[in-house]
């Protein structure tokens, strides 16, 4: 399944097929290697992508938990008392999203290595493997995702994962659908050069500056690349 450049990526086309059955207003698919090496698929919802950026900046939230623990995380109302105090306090009051379901994208289980082999059935009691990213569905009203809807989303996440690993193997995924978004890496490289530090240290500085200036990590990176924020100001905050 290959999409033309103007079409949504195939993963989002598959998601669109079950949108009516589950019901969501927004959806984002994020592919991630770790918390700072990540990218939303082209065509994902910008508002949810921004909410993911905020979680990346603060290092807490439902997306990080789903990615880390490999299990779905459902939030009935983002304005209710949540187990992520920093995120709650930093979430813009006008964020339109209220209910979310976050599904980890796991390496497809039971992939046969030989076409002659039968697929191996995953045991539900088995612990999850490392995740490829997360899929987040959001509703703009308080309308909690039901167990049945989360079950459908879990199957959808499995299909999306299979598509992702297939397209990653051919190089198409990164080349076509996530490549343009390298702002954070570029800004980290600039700051690393300015400080004579590693990229990891530079990202820590960027994160600290983003937190104190009320921006997201990617928002700050974009501002640095646009010249709105000087690299020197991030390196040596006043």
């Amino acid at each position: 399944m290959t999409a033309a450049p103007e079409d949504p990526p195939p993963e989002l086309q598959v998601c669109a097929l079950v949108r009516e059955a589950v019901g969501w207003d927004r959806l984002v698919v994020v592919v991630a290697r770790d918390v700072d090496t990540r990218a939303a698929l082209r065509g994902s919802d910008a508002v949810l992508e921004g909410y993911c950026d905020l979680q990346q900046t603060l290092l807490q939230g439902p997306s990080l938990d789903a990615f880390t623990w490999g299990a779905p995380v459902v939030v009935d109302d983002l304005r209710a008392r949540l187990p992520w105090p920093l995120l709650s306090s930093a979430t813009p009051p006008d964020l339109p999203v209220r209910s979310v379901a976050v599904l980890p994208l796991l390496v497809p289980a039971g992939t046969p290595t030989d076409p002659a082999d039968p697929p191996v059935q995953p045991d539900p009691s088995d612990p999850p493997g490392p995740a490829l990213g997360v899929l987040t569905a959001g509703r703009d009203r308080v309308d909690p995702f039901t167990r049945a809807q989360v079950s459908v989303l879990t199957h959808l996440a499995a299909v999306v994962s299979a598509l992702l690993v297939h397209r990653a193997a051919t190089g198409e995924l990164v080349a076509v659908d996530v490549a343009p978004n390298d702002d954070l890496a570029v800004a980290a490289g600039m700051l690393a050069e300015h400080l004579g530090a590693t990229a990891g240290e530079a990202k820590s500085r960027l994160r600290a500056h983003a937190f104190t200036s009320g921006r997201t990590l990617n928002g700050l990176a974009r501002a640095v690349l646009d010249g709105e924020v000087a690299v020197g100001d991030v390196a040596h905050p006043r």
Binding site: V120, D123, G129, G171, E193, T198, A199, V231
Partner: protein, 277 residues
């Protein structure tokens, strides 16, 4: 000839694990089932492809009757055998010898057979004469080689080595095939995950390298990318490799220079040495 090539598929747990050839009582079968379930969980929860491989070889030695050592070999282009994981030196030495001599079970038999049993390598003088002559360098005489995956000219194999001649019986082969089936799924998963993560990692390191060049030389993003691309072409190296070098050392890999006629080479340093970072 003491080699038995078996095209058998993985046995069901009911055919079981036993220290004797075909015994397998109920307790033994229960124990094997538990061990295999534990193996599946351990492999699935491994954090990296290397951890998957390391756990697979360690568990194979623990579960397969007669196994003294184990290794996972990757064969590329039916010519180069590398050790992806090994419990001890003999398993690595087997791979080194196969590459050096251009013969051995991983270079032919394991490509076409799920399981290849070698009772005594030193006696394989007709099939692998050069390897048989140097079998003493491995130090473990018998082998059980199990196919993990075949992808064109690339092979993954789980090799088990025994301390005695004919150390592996039918039970060893049956348990070995079950362990290999679990390991094969885990290895395939790990390879898929690595593919996906690698694409992101390359994009990240190329971005960092662009940022370094932009800051250092006051270039635009496009100019920085063009400079990286040009060095990559001049050196005939992949873009992400050039970028990784720059990100790690602070130095762009040097383009080939004409050798100076006299005097020592001079190289200007623009940044701190990486050890000073």
């Amino acid at each position: 000839m003491d080699v038995e090539n078996r095209g058998t598929h993985a046995s069901s747990p009911a055919q079981g694990r036993s220290s004797t050839a075909d015994g397998g009582d109920a307790d033994g079968l229960d124990g094997l089932a538990r061990d295999l379930a534990d193996l599946a969980r351990a492999l699935q929860s491994a954090a990296s492809p290397q951890e998957v491989l390391d756990r697979a070889v360690t568990t194979a030695v623990a579960l397969v009757p007669g196994a003294e050592a184990a290794g996972i070999s990757l064969v590329r282009a039916r010519r180069t055998v590398t050790s992806a994981a090994a419990t001890s030196l003999p398993a690595r030495r087997l791979d080194e010898l196969q590459t050096e001599l251009g013969e051995g079970p991983c270079l032919d038999a394991v490509f076409t057979h799920r399981s290849t049993r070698v009772d005594e390598l030193a006696r394989e003088t007709s099939r692998w004469p050069a390897l048989a002559a140097r079998a003493g360098e491995i130090g473990l005489p018998s082998m059980l080689c199990l196919q993990l995956f075949v992808d064109g000219d690339t092979l993954g194999a789980l090799n088990l080595l025994g301390a005695e001649p004919a150390a592996f019986g039918d039970a060893s082969e049956q348990v070995g095939l079950l362990v290999a089936a679990h390991a094969a799924v885990a290895v395939a998963d790990a390879r898929q995950l690595a593919h996906t993560h690698l694409g992101l990692a390359h994009r990240d390191v190329i971005g960092q390298a662009k940022g370094i060049l932009m800051e250092r030389h006051r270039l635009s993003a496009d100019q920085a990318f063009a400079l990286l691309s040009s060095v990559s072409q001049d050196l005939n190296r992949k873009l992400h490799e050039v970028a990784a070098d720059l990100a790690a050392t602070g130095e762009l890999p040097q383009r080939p220079q004409p050798r100076p006629q006299t005097g020592p080479p001079h190289r200007e340093r623009r940044t701190q040495h990486p050890e000073q970072r």
